[in-house]
């Protein structure tokens, strides 16, 4: 009886240990997936911010070009008059 009980306790402890190891490994797999997602997210953030800066740059360049063109057309109109 005592042998049986002791064996059961040993098995339980063994099971718990294995379960802990399995959960930890699963946790790792999850963490790896999260990490990959996070990295992809960072790459996207970087790409978006880079794009955003370029859009601002292009927008402001267009503003300047528009003003310059407006001034030029005004000068031409004045010359014609």
């Amino acid at each position: 009886m005592r042998n049986t009980l002791f064996a059961l306790v040993c098995l339980c402890i063994l099971g718990l240990g294995l379960a802990t190891a399995v959960v930890a490994n699963g946790n790792h797999a999850l963490a790896e997936r999260v990490l990959r997602l996070e990295r992809a997210n960072q790459d996207l953030v970087v790409a978006i911010e880079e794009l955003d800066a370029r859009i601002w740059q292009r927008g402001l360049e267009l503003d300047a070009a528009e003003l310059a063109a407006e001034a030029e057309s005004r000068r031409i109109a004045e010359d014609v008059q």
Binding site: N3, I13, A21, R39, A47, E49
Partner: protein
Amino acid sequence: MSPRLPDLPTRSRAGLRPVGAFFVLGCVLAAVATRLVHLAAPNPAPARALLAGDPEPKSLPRYGLTDRHGAPLAISHASFALEASPQNVWLSHTPEILRQRLGDALDLEPEEFEELFRRLLGLGETDSLAVTRWPLNVHEALALSDWLAAGGPAAKRTDAAHLAQLGPLHGMWLDPLPADAPERKLVEGEPGPYFRIAWAPEVLLSRAEREACLPQLVGAKNAAAAWVRALGTDLHPLLAPAMAREAEHADVCLLRGGDPRRAHRNHECVFAGLQPRRFAPLLDPVPSAAVPALRGIFEEERIGPFALWLRGSSTRTYPAGELSALGRWGWSGAEGESEPVPLPGLERLANGELAHLEELSGVRLREGAAPDLARRMLLARRPGLQRGYYLEHTEPEAPATVETTLDLELSRFVGQRLERVLEESEAASAMAVVLDLETREVLALEWRDAYRTTLWSPLQRLYTPGSTWKLVTMGIALEHGHVHPGEVFDVGEGHYRLRNEEGRVVRVIGEAEGFKTGRLTAAECVAHSSNAGMVQIGTRIPPEVWKRKTKELGYGLPAATELVGDFYNPPGQVGEPEGRGGRAWALGRSLASVSFGDSISLNLLQHAAGLAALLGGGEWRPLVFTRAVQAGGARHLLPRQPGRRVVSERTSATLVKMAQLGAEEGTGKNLERPVAAHLGTKTGTTEKLPNDVCSHVWGKAYEDALESGKSWDDQAEYRRYRGKWGAGRASCYVSSIAAFASSPDGSKRYLTLVVVDDPHVKGRPFGSRHAGPAASDILCEALGYTVGGGAPLATLADGLWPLSVPTLNPALLPWLESAELSYARFADAPAPHQNTGGG
């Protein structure tokens, strides 16, 4: 009674045999515990050792700058920097494979990629690496030479038939040790001559050399690592005496490695000496489009995260172009490795203000997500830890945005207008500042140089103000009751003789721009820029008052220090410096010169702040460049520094009227202006003295020095070039103008100060000719009379065509007040009284 020992059972009553079970259980628990500890270890030992040598990643700040309307002037966005440890990379990789793959992924210009790859190879100026740690004596050199001649690692690892075909090992050789080499200390006393090892990484580590030497490595897994191991293992005994000498002379051992505790990894120890570089910044920023390809290379080529990695960095861009006033970020040493330093300009000012706010609030304002990004990536790429965890976590936050007082459109207009001035006047440089007289906010600050320079001109370029200073003279004289606006002065016929109390002529004062003769009121002296009149007024002011009041106006003191910090910020000087013999402030010297704007050196911002005080109510206040900080979704107004009263409001109002008279009938009368602007001007034309230098001559010489890289000594060059005005020129000039005007509804009053240095175009160098039209155009643009230099287009309503309103031609606007009636004239001022003194 307890049983006696011999009676105790030697076995368990239950018949248990626990040893085996406990052993199994113990093993399981130990395994689980080991795994758990391994998982939880934040920094495995090899990672710690490698981390110790890594320089701290340096990134530019993340805060932004906007103009007064919210348009971005400076943005920092997250980006990646590609960095490497050449030592770790070449321990286990083949150069030509990485050259090919990185070249495809990065898509750079050939020269740019070549430079990047040289850094990855750890090369300096030459195509080979010299091993400085282990100089060899003649015996060691002979042994090494024999090993090289025998085919290097092939000697021990291949058969005689192969060795017979094989020549010497390529890519490594011995050079004589130069007499001045610092490592010569290590071999002193050894039998000479001395040698040092040199090697070419791309040859020695190439696949061709490896496979020719060791055929067993053809197609082998990790062949590159095996090749380096073979090289290092063979070299270690050959270099052992040199390593022992290095350990003895620890004081001259400048590089790390060769740790005897790691002797079991001999090849790594040897390679640390062959390839000492453990950090090489390769590319910053990496184009985001290249990032996935790089990650693919890391994975496919099994490049360890301590060999080649992507670091979270930030890139600073100026979407509106690089405005002069903004400045930029530089580095205290090598780019990416040293401290980022804000160079003079608004970048430096904003960084300082945010640092101060950070101190007060304890909130991060200059950084954003980038450091967090870097930390997470670092955790993810530790060797020995296949999968990463976030051991700590901080929510990313948006960095602050500093709202400046600059107006982007106006700044651009001012910049373009100055370019025109530079072209039309053939000037060496042109500077302009526009500020609000009420708030002292700077709306635009621009300058253009015909020659390459490193100066932050508004503060670092000193000039003599000339007649624009007459407003200062008049302001001080009025304030202290030395003159009345209507007081009449005899200004002579173009040459005024300044006499002392005994009646002796101490100096003859000449006139400049379109001078008036005969008798002028004090107001007309300012309006017509009469040197004779101003000398009579200025010499009434005692030198002590001159010194005190000019200090109160900020002259002779470093201006806007927050914009330049520790960089060069000359305070300038009012009057001749003391100690040159005689009394510097004698009647015929500084007292006379300063009265009409001579013997003074100042910078643009000093003069702008001083004139703004005199024309903007009489109170001196520091110029304002920033308005608010936006952080955490809230907008915080920045505090303004208190001012100090220098002259009364009445004196200020009188000066305004005098300048308006100058614009109406004085030196500024020919300038085009909208009627409603109530323009006021004071022009200035300063002829350079024989002791001065022509900015064209100076600028050209400095540009040549910058381009050729030769040393430059300011004082020696000054002595060399002073008084040399260039071919066929009698002198050089600084033309300037201070002008102010009001908006159509009278709600805003702006001041501009335009300075044109050394206009060389033929004709008179007067301020009204070179700087005047630009000042008028700039004020019209700033106050909304023009848009982009032309008449503004008024949009009536959606869907209707805009209508052009020609505001600049009063004849077309009959409903406006006529020009003659729109000015407050000094002729209507209280009756003047005759001047009887002053010569």
